[in-house]
């Protein structure tokens, strides 16, 4: 399959390790991975903050790259961006677009997958041959859970990882408090939610809290780091791409 990688603006700029891991993992699983260089951002932040008119150029840009018929599927290591592409691009296109945009949005949306969905539903694998000898707890993230309904797919993937010590996160399904610009506009409420999430994470004694969204991990990880908890965060893709020759590069270690 010809699989296009959607790095997401945040992944490309701030969390490249998760995207690298996705690229390597999919290639290792026999896919022909391409990176359409025209891509930028899905526009989720604009839609969610109320700026649908400003999201329009980004929706156009997304479909320009990914509606292309030479691409069989688009995979992004981000549940919330995929949720936005599938559910919000239509709203924006309906409001501002013409028929051709609406068609492209539909075509691109229908073949865009979050990583765990793509692995389990499309490729039909749960054992990707990974090894990650650490104690890990998993936060399912709201948009993966409720917009995409990925269910237990990420956990089924993690359960197959060699030597992983997977521990259940208490009140896992509760929002970490990120919510995009919510974290700025209602920073105190966001922080209160974050505190409870961090408490849940640290009670598990995990070395890493994992998730399928760099944005939520930025939030949880930012809090854990501020409090010097000694617990880190790691994207699901990075765990799944870890093998005997430990994937995480020297660059990341030295950053």
């Amino acid at each position: 399959m010809r699989v296009a990688l959607f790095a997401t603006c945040l992944g490309d700029t701030l969390f490249p390790e998760a995207v690298k891991a996705t690229a390597v993992l999919l290639t290792r699983l026999g896919q022909e991975v391409v990176f359409p260089p025209g891509q930028t951002c899905c526009g989720q932040m604009h839609v969610n903050t109320g700026y649908q008119a400003d999201a329009l150029p980004l929706v156009r840009n997304y479909t320009a790259d990914f509606a292309d018929e030479s691409i069989d599927a688009v995979v992004a290591p981000s549940g919330s961006c995929v949720g936005s592409i599938r559910h919000q691009h239509e709203i924006v296109a309906e409001r501002y677009g013409d028929r051709s945009l609406r068609e492209r949005v539909e075509r691109a949306g229908a073949k865009t997958y979050e990583l765990s969905e793509f692995l389990v539903d499309v490729l039909g694998v749960t054992d990707v041959g990974a090894r990650f000898p650490h104690r890990v707890t998993y936060h399912p993230t709201c948009h993966s859970l409720r917009m995409l309904r990925v269910g237990d797919k990420p956990l089924r993937l993690l359960e197959q990882v060699r030597e992983i010590d997977l521990v259940e996160l208490p009140r896992a399904e509760e929002c970490c408090g990120f919510g995009g610009t919510f974290a700025l506009k209602n920073s105190e409420t966001s922080t209160a939610m974050l505190s409870d999430k961090m408490r849940a994470v640290t009670t598990t004694g995990a070395e890493f809290c994992s998730a399928g969204d760099s944005s939520c991990l930025m939030h949880i990880g930012g809090g854990l780091s501020r409090l010097r908890t000694g617990t880190g965060t790691v994207h699901l893709a990075e765990i799944l791409a870890s093998t005997e020759q430990r994937f995480r590069s020297e660059e990341e270690v030295s950053a």
């Binding site: 390597v24 260089p37 969610n48 209602n186 409420t189 974050l194």
Partner: protein, 508 residues
Amino acid sequence: MSSAFLGFPTPPPRAPYATGHLRGDQSFPEAAHTALDDTQQRRNLGKATATIRGKRDQVADELPDWEELRSAGSALKADVLARLPELLERFEREVTERGGVVHWARDADEANEIVTRLVADKDSDEVLKVKSMATQEIGLNEHLGSAGISPVETDLAELIVQLGADRPSHILVPAIHRNRAEIRDIFLREMPGVDPNLDDDPVRLAEEARKYLRSKFMSTRVAISGANFGVADTGTLSVVESEGNGRMCLTMPETLITVMGIEKLVPSFTDLEVFLQLLPRSSTGERMNPYTSMWTGVTEGDGPEEFHLVLLDNGRSATLADGVGREALQCIRCSACLNVCPVYERTGGKAYGSTYPGPIGAVLTPQLAGMHESRDDPNASLPYASSLCGACYDVCPVKIDIPSLLVELRHQHVEQSRYTAEAAMMRASSLAMSSAKRFTKAQRASRLGRVLGGADGRISALPPPLNAWTSARDLPAPPKRTFREWWDSEDGREAVRAARREAERGES
């Protein structure tokens, strides 16, 4: 369109600015600041919502056809909204034929005046109140008070709030933010004739309230209720409750006045079957609510001699006129969305400044009362009082897509408040990301942020408005290379080649 143009269309009116409780005097973040500091309330709320969430999940899971029930409830309510004028006329006719008197109130002011006049006509200076969201929405108690009439709340939690000169914090459990020690103190302070040795045993507290209310039931001649449902086909009204105090009010007094929002209709009597399953399971986590009262007009020698129905608009037509936002009018006020909302759980209901708090309040209040009535209208902050986690949508018994409504209202807000600093930032970021060329330029600029990171690569302080982030969270400094730079580099190509070799090895 074939109809003739008859001049400018008049938009339906919103709820009046000054009357009622559809607007607080602070924005949500400001009000939340106070609430978040209240550790006692935080604990009370956390405990109460967790308990009720658990009960709801359990009894909803019990029903094999729960999802079908939700779909049925949603479809019924959507149908009601689609043909509301017709159903309302039908309803009015049926109520009138059975001896009720129907009054139409365009807004809170009109409704308050109608009710107050009706009570004054009976020479009554005290009225019993059945717990009602509609009368609270219009500020009826305050209006009655200013006319020298004392309203007595008969719902236990509502009574606690009233005696405590407090504001409710939850649709269903208005005193959810109080624990029993606090309630005991309120009773001792405010309830006439209370046992001075009262302790905080819930049974004893309920007993004292019962004694107090009994004396009121025996002596008061006028009662005011809301309605959970009005049945268009038969003109029947219904109130569901847990304590039976409402039923006392609906049967004992000589005159009964019901204030009902115009959206509370269901088409026919059999439709109640759906809602009487959905409502108690979603709200109190019970299989069935203890008291379901229904009344139709008046019957000689049984119950009230006079029945008045006030049909309240107060911004509902305006809400109905919004093709997207109208979905909020499907709400049956079960409060399930409040109980699962992580924002509500931390801030409590008062932070929303409205009779309708929580997720449903965040979409209903700005629609009923508007969000641009003044500069910095507090209601404009409500659609943003959510992380869009979607938990509310999952539990809503009538499947209101609250997250999508929030996003829609944010859009409407932005459309009406152009030229803010935020709008400029959003425009700039949209422009920067509308092509890869501009985006990569911006990425290179953002890498300057590396200097903000300390030796450990974390950023702990940023200038406004981003200091709202760094007040509690670090941010990683941007990495040396973006993903696309890595992808285009020899390292990137080598990593992909190595992965491909592994794939081939795996296949052979």
